[in-house]
């Protein structure tokens, strides 16, 4: 699977026992905590490393792009050669849009808002999803019934539908309402997952042990059980980030999202379809490519995390 030779602790332990003196035994027997083991498994996942590298480039672009390339994204070049704007050769590196804005500056500036929306949406959705799922799964009974019927209800309404209507009617082109809409509608799937995890985890012996020594309900639910459920939660959190970035792009592309002055990857794409017919492919291509690469990278990362954080995974 990997190019470099695998050195598992098992083999190093065997080497330690056979090849070295008994005095070295303690040294050679590495003791790794959960996170070190997870990091070790993660490092072996080549696609996940590719994902981290791509994400690093994107974050660099978001943080330093507008500083290194300090142009206002709303600046227009007025000497356009035609309706398609400058191509990437006439205006490096990514050409201009139909109005004369530099597509590169749009992509670099858009990275900030798109990633901000992705991560904050995820934080809202994970907070609500984990809380609701944990309470439902841990306490069961009528609380569980009530919360899960509500989750069923939200999940039985087409997601894109309600998001678009809410963004159009309550978004007002502002960033905070848009993030709230995305976050408040993205948690039901996660809550269902967390509930299922809690249902099985609360029957485990470590919960019984904690109860036996008198640990309270809340502490059991969030300090004892939650760390054991962290793997699947982290994986779906990455998916929520990816979905929120795509969702924002589509909503803004339709002009139901952010105001035109706020540059996100979706806003950078808005109205680009009109100019495709005159050959301006670079305008939609590069912002879309940024979205696609980021989402692929996040999915790779999520896959690596799933393998790394699975407590049952063999070393």
């Amino acid at each position: 699977m990997s190019d470099q030779p695998l050195r598992t602790p098992a083999t190093s332990r065997v080497t330690a026992l056979t090849d070295t003196a008994a005095a070295d035994y303690e040294v050679a027997l590495e003791s790794l905590n959960q996170w070190q083991l997870a990091w070790r498994r993660f490092r072996r996942h080549r696609l996940a490393l590719v994902g981290v590298a791509i994400l690093a480039v994107m974050v660099f672009l978001a943080v330093f792009g507008p500083i290194i390339w300090p142009y206002d994204p709303l600046d227009l070049r007025r000497d356009l050669p035609g309706p398609q704007g400058f191509d990437p050769i006439a205006m490096p590196p990514f050409g201009s849009d139909g109005a004369g804005r530099s597509v590169f500056v749009l992509v670099a500036n858009g990275a900030r808002l798109s990633m901000l929306i992705g991560t904050t949406t995820m934080l809202i959705a994970v907070t609500i999803g984990v809380l609701v799922g944990a309470v439902a799964g841990f306490f069961g009974g009528w609380v569980d019934n009530l919360l899960m019927r509500f989750v069923d209800l939200v999940l039985s309404i087409p997601f894109l539908f309600i998001v678009l209507v809410a963004a159009r009617f309550f978004g007002g082109g502002e960033l905070v309402p848009l993030i709230l809409i995305f976050g408040l509608l993205s948690w039901p799937g996660l809550a269902r997952l967390v509930r299922a995890l809690y249902l099985s985890l609360r029957e485990q012996e470590f919960v019984l042990a904690a109860r036996a020594v008198g640990v309270g309900d809340l502490r059991i639910a969030f300090r004892h059980i939650l760390p054991n459920a962290i793997g699947p939660v982290v994986v779906s959190a990455t998916l929520i980030v990816a979905n929120a970035i795509i969702l924002e792009a589509f909503v803004s592309y339709l002009n139901f999202g952010l105001k035109a002055q706020d540059i996100s990857w979706g806003n950078a794409l808005a109205r680009s379809q009109e100019r495709i017919a005159v050959g301006n492919w670079w305008w939609p291509f590069f912002p879309g490519m940024a979205i696609a690469l980021t989402v692929i990278a996040i999915n790779f990362l999520g896959d690596g995390l799933r393998d790394a954080l699975d407590p049952r995974a063999k070393e």
Binding site: L47, R149, D152, L153, S156, I157, P158, L160, F161, I162, L164, V165, R168, F169, F170, A242, I246, A249, F250, Y253, L254, F256, L269, S272, Q273, I276, A277, G279, W281, P284, F285, G288, I291, A292, V295, I296, N299, F300
Partner: protein, 377 residues
């Protein structure tokens, strides 16, 4: 079995009621509201406007009682021609308003099949929605059939030849296509096939959007169109087929990724079972083991999964229809959001929610039928 189906159906009723309430709240919470929207229709007279307001029990002030009245009117329980308490529950025919018209009930509200008036079109919502159904079903059934079929082929082959070059290549492709924003893939396809290939003189076979060539045919799904269709059926089918290629490809490419992974996982699971080892051990040919023993069992979860995907037929192509200006329900939805066409939005929300609920029910039933191990009592 019948008991099981009845119980599952009854379990869906609260969800349906919840969806109705949410659809209604969506309309009431939206700024402006349907009164303002109704005032925006220029084509109807003041008298008609008042008639419509009464028909839907729309009230000027927002108070809890008025909200209940409006909800009752939208449902079709109340008849707002009268305003006093016992009379409001009865229709002009004298029966309870909630009953079907044939039994002396009223004819207003969703219970009587009246979803309201489209502000943009100035016509009943039911008509506006129904006339978009053929285009959407044409697109979505073609796409669904293709991608499920191809996903089963790819997933099965990848599972049987696990870790082969094909399997790894398909895994990678699934990742890529799963991650592509649908609308961006559509844009790029339009650029390459409809613009680049045309301007570079290779072919002008691929149109950049729409369902028919507008200069050759009357507007789609009008009586004139079907008359022209009857005269030259082959030409009409070829014309629609040309317009179908790119949107169907978009839908298939994005959706095949997840499904082929699903089929692969199901097939791997089946191949790991003891009865497969037994079948191999007693010397059956590999082909028989795979096709008869593994494949048929692997299809159980796949069938359920497909049943759960059925709502896609109605509400799954919003993005694709928008990009390819396909005159279906998804595009109607986007247009109605843009125009704040409340009754159409509520109607679409209701219809697609009902479809999702039916699909969930269907998935449960199908699973209980195909898998004898499921106990459903």
């Amino acid at each position: 079995m019948t008991k099981y189906i009845i119980r599952r159906t009854l379990g869906l009723l609260p969800l349906f009621v919840g969806a109705v309430v949410i659809s209604f709240l969506l309309m009431r919470a939206a700024p402006g509201g349907p009164q303002a929207a109704l005032a925006g229709i220029k084509s109807i007279t003041q008298e008609d406007r008042e008639k419509w307001l009464r028909r839907w029990c729309l009230q000027a002030e927002v108070t809890p009682i008025n909200m209940l009245k409006e909800f009752g009117g939208w449902l079709g329980v109340l008849n707002c021609d009268s305003d006093t308490v016992p009379e409001i529950f009865f229709s002009a025919q004298g029966g309870l308003n909630v009953l079907p018209a044939a039994l002396g009930g009223g004819d207003n509200g969703i219970l009587h099949g009246d979803l309201g008036l489209s502000i943009r079109a100035g016509r009943p919502v039911v008509d506006v929605i129904l006339e978009r159904v053929p285009a959407t079903l044409l697109l979505t059934t073609t796409a669904l059939a293709l991608w499920v079929g191809i996903a089963i082929l790819i997933g099965t082959y990848a599972a049987v030849h696990r870790y082969s070059l094909f399997d790894q290549g398909m895994t990678f492709l699934a990742y890529v296509f799963y991650s592509l924003p649908t609308f961006w893939l559509g844009l790029m396809l339009i650029f390459f096939f409809a613009v680049f290939l045309r301007t570079s003189g290779v072919t002008d076979f691929f149109p950049s959007g729409g369902i028919i060539t507008t200069r050759d045919w009357p507007p789609f799904n009008t009586p004139q169109y079907w008359a022209a269709f009857g005269e030259r059926p082959m030409a009409a089918i070829v014309d629609i087929g040309r317009h179908l290629v790119l949107p169907v490809f978009t839908l298939v490419a994005v959706n095949i990724a997840a499904d082929s992974r699903f089929v692969r996982a199901a097939m791997l699971e089946a191949l790991n079972q003891d009865y497969i080892r037994t079948a191999r051990a007693k010397g059956l040919p590999a082909r028989t083991v795979i096709a008869k023993h593994a494949f048929r069992n692997a299809m159980l979860p796949v069938v359920t999964n497909v049943a759960l995907e059925l709502p896609f037929l109605v509400s799954g192509a919003i993005v694709t229809e928008t990009i390819f200006t396909w005159p279906g329900l998804g595009r109607l939805f986007i247009e109605s959001v843009g125009a704040r066409d409340y009754f159409v939005l509520m109607g679409l929300l209701l219809v697609s929610t009902v479809f999702i609920l039916i699909a969930n029910l269907l998935a449960d039933i199908v699973y209980a039928i195909v898998d004898p191990r499921i106990r459903y009592d």
